[in-house]
Subunit: 156 residues, 2 copies
């Protein structure tokens, strides 16, 4: 929901994300296969978005692009990750299970992402659209700038 501190316990971060993913897949009757789980783990190794081909390299074993893209499609379809359109990259969803429009703050210096779950903003945009007769189905909001750490001068 906000920017992770530099010294947060990232292991538990990953563990809880994986746990939530398993729960969500059980709930939906979806299969979190080995490949899919490993891709999700790789995505969660950092709080910055990762590109598909970077994941491909990390996956190793001479995996081909479709392998990654299928896993990404699955994870996107089940709300376990988000795609960052302005970076052609993917990031773990910080609150799967509850449907929401992603609203992202992207630090141009350290690359970190924060995902907001501000229903208010989403609703405001939907209402503006509705005033023009436009019905919103999905919404992409990506703000680029400097995160608290990088703004302070230090590069966290």
């Amino acid at each position: 929901m906000s920017f992770p501190s530099n010294d947060h316990d990232h292991r538990s971060c990953v563990a809880s994300a994986l746990g939530a993913a398993e729960a969500e897949c059980r709930r939906r009757g979806a299969r979190l296969t080995d490949i899919r789980r490993r891709v999700l783990e790789l995505i969660w190794t950092s709080h910055a978005p990762v590109g598909a081909y970077a994941l491909l390299e990390q996956l190793g074993r001479g995996a081909a692009p479709p392998t990654i893209y299928r896993a990404l499609d699955f994870l996107l379809a089940h709300g376990l990750i988000h795609r960052i359109e302005t970076q052609n990259a993917y990031v773990g969803c910080s609150h799967p299970g509850q449907p929401h429009a992603g609203l992202f703050l992207l630090c141009r210096q350290c690359g970190a992402v924060a995902e907001l779950a501000e229903a208010a903003t989403t609703r405001a945009i939907e209402q503006e659209a509705a005033a023009l007769g436009f019905q919103v189905d999905s919404l992409t909001v990506e703000a680029h700038g400097l995160c608290p750490g990088c703004r302070g001068g230090a590069s966290p």
Copy 2:
């Protein structure tokens, strides 16, 4: 600012866009060269976003990709067009000269785009970000859905 009607006078639409572009370039001391002007015209031939390679074909004369991308870079840099991130495509700016964050409504059926200039929404997002200590430099907002015409059942 809103969706163009089906029978609007598109010639004058293009003409005024080109006129505004020339004025803006004069004001900025930028050169709207022949290629740049033609690319801008091609972009304005429709109110739907156009891809770079589609423009390339229309430009003809065996132009190579860098020709288009340079023209697009110029037009983006001077605020004469916008890039639609979710479509890797480009659309004419409906109010150049006044700096603004683009906020787009994209019809998934007819492809039409409306550009909102709602400073209120922009400011709301910036404030939410500021509450987390994040400083917004640029903002991308793209809503997908159905425009008034396509929602009505007819495909305009």
